[in-house]
């Protein structure tokens, strides 16, 4: 069941110039609704003349012990700027949980799983990694960024699995793009999960497809509603135009038309 909640900011950490990590909880201690990795929320941004519609943001992590929802925000316009300015105690109107979720494997805990995130696309990977570890898997993370400074939440990722990085300027990890990282050559992955800039996801999808690896991508099509009523967020799939906000944001690449 989707909910419309006023959550309260418990922390807002400026991670670097463009990113912040916001933690929210319920005002009265009631439990947050169950959320799954890959799902997202829609935020009503106040006091922003240029932000009329809600803003979709991925579930970065759910800290059940603290009843906290984490959101990782990259400031790109006034909506995300206003989010980055939230103070502890502020109330935020949020619709959640939205969308489908990544498909977690159910067997063979030894299988190799790779979670590839680029830029703010690393956001859903943290919650996915944590959930996988919870289920007994040992996920590996491959994170790509422009430079060291843009690699976020490394300490958090390390809690749930091995972390590999690429940076475009070589300031951390291997220099280049995620698809060139050596871990892809050294490991036989059974599944890849990815979220990030479209060119990156396409490259990962093509790699996975041609290597017969199961692959799920999380899309960020522009949305007006986020819950399936406006039909604006469609992705062209093998079954026609499909709403990313309800039948996605997670798609198996075999259903998309990218790899043709």
């Amino acid at each position: 069941m989707k909910r419309l909640l006023d959550l309260v900011v418990t922390e807002n950490n400026q991670l670097n110039q463009n990113y912040c990590l916001i933690k929210l909880t319920t005002p009265d201690g009631t439990l947050l609704p169950e959320m799954y990795p890959g799902q997202f929320v829609e935020i009503k941004v106040e006091n922003s003349p240029s932000t009329y519609l809600r803003r979709p943001i991925s579930v970065n992590f759910v800290d059940k012990s603290k009843n906290e929802l984490w959101l990782l925000i990259q400031v790109v316009g006034d909506g995300t700027k206003k989010m980055s300015e939230y103070s502890v105690g502020d109330t935020v109107n949020i619709m959640l949980p939205l969308g489908n979720s990544f498909t977690l494997p159910t067997e063979n805990p030894k299988q190799e799983l790779l979670l590839v995130g680029g830029g703010v696309g690393t956001a859903p990977m943290l919650f996915l990694g944590a959930s996988l570890k919870d289920k007994g898997f040992a996920p590996k993370f491959l994170l790509g960024a422009r430079s060291k400074n843009d690699l976020l939440q490394l300490d958090d990722f390390l809690k749930y699995g091995e972390v590999f990085c690429t940076t475009e300027d070589g300031s951390h990890g291997e220099k280049g793009y995620v698809t060139n990282h050596s871990v892809l050559k050294n490991t036989q992955f059974s599944s890849i999960y990815t979220c990030g800039p479209k060119p990156m996801m396409v490259a990962v999808a093509k790699y996975a497809h041609s290597n017969n690896i199961n692959c799920e991508v999380s899309l960020e099509n522009t949305m007006a509603c986020g819950f399936g009523v406006c039909l604006c967020c469609v992705e062209k799939t093998r079954e026609g135009n499909i709403c990313v906000c309800t039948e996605g944001p997670v798609f198996n690449i075999e259903n998309l038309t990218w790899i043709d």
Binding site: L4, K44, S50, Y52, L53, R54, V229, C230, C232, N241
Partner: protein, 303 residues
């Protein structure tokens, strides 16, 4: 809540607040948020005789106090509506009205005919004003003559309440309103979206795949109110007003300007509970001003 009751043709509304086609899905998407039985009615997604994939992505652009859409009437066609959707929504304790689109007069007539036997569909809304597809009927909605033609043809097969939805993309909306009134429409609803455009200056491309799209949201409210007022002054049939309503105050503005009932569109995306808030706000306004029935408010602007 008797003071909120209004009638549109034979259509009985427990209150004048309804939700606009294309912004409320089939109602089901909102049951997590609101009790549908508390609103006057639901206009479901634009329905066409054959299934439509709609336009390519991108279909949306945010604009100052509004948005452009270029959905292009994506829907699975009227047969699918009848067989798959109707059964799951027919027991809603509110009016379910089907928004019918087409590219020829026959399309409209055929589509209406397929809906005639659905007991729980008390009315249809002819969308002769969708700006987003050639087949969306905007050509019908921008000429009094063809608006009259399609109304007349559908009127012959559709005996229940017939609402015609007008396009704002015209020099004189009153001409079109009079034309469809003349052919027996029970009500007019207005406005559909204004034709607009957005440009991506980095890509040097239109934002929408279709170049132009339909503008909705608070930005269009002044234009919509004006058209309601103009139309109220020339037709006798009821007007269902819409365009940018995002608060009960907005709804009162539309009623004062001549609307018997109103529809809420885009704002459902931002606040899926807005329709209930508008119902409550109208009731409180009537109380505060000691007005016995919302019907008294319609067109009561002092000029």
């Amino acid at each position: 809540m008797d003071r909120l009751i209004v009638n549109i043709g034979d259509l009985h509304l427990k209150n004048p607040v309804m939700t606009a086609s294309g912004t409320f899905g089939y109602g089901k998407e909102f049951t997590d948020f609101i009790d549908l039985s508390r609103i006057g009615g639901i206009f479901v997604k634009g329905t066409t005789i054959r299934a439509r994939q709609g336009n390519d992505y991108p279909r949306m652009a945010e604009t100052p106090s509004g948005m452009l859409n270029a959905v292009g009437l994506q829907n699975k066609g009227v047969d699918h509506f009848v067989s798959d959707i109707y059964p799951s929504i027919k027991d809603f304790d509110t009016n379910v009205i089907v928004n019918v689109s087409g590219s020829t007069v026959e399309d409209y007539v055929d589509c209406a005919q397929k809906l005639v036997d659905l007991d729980k569909i008390p009315a249809i809304e002819l969308n002769i004003s969708c700006p987003n597809v050639k087949e969306g009927g905007m050509a019908f909605g921008t000429s009094a003559c063809s608006a009259a033609e399609v109304t007349k043809a559908v009127r012959e097969v559709w005996k229940k309440t017939l609402i015609v939805k007008l396009s704002p993309n015209v020099t004189d909306i009153t001409e079109i309103a009079k034309a469809v009134e003349g052919e027996g429409a029970d009500a007019v609803s207005l406005i559909n979206t204004l034709l607009g455009m957005a440009v991506d200056i980095n890509k040097r491309q239109p934002v929408l795949s279709t170049i132009t799209g339909g503008l909705s949201g608070p930005c269009v409210k002044p234009v919509a109110l004006r058209m309601v007022w103009q139309t109220y002054n020339v037709v006798k049939i009821p007007i269902i007003g819409m365009g940018g309503i995002s608060s009960w105050q907005d709804a009162i503005e539309f009623i004062l300007a001549g609307s018997s009932a109103i529809q809420i569109g885009t704002h459902n995306f931002i606040d899926p509970t807005i329709s209930i808030k508008v119902v409550e706000g109208i009731a409180a306004y009537l109380d505060k001003h000691n007005i016995k029935s919302v019907k008294e408010l319609t067109g009561s602007l002092q000029v």
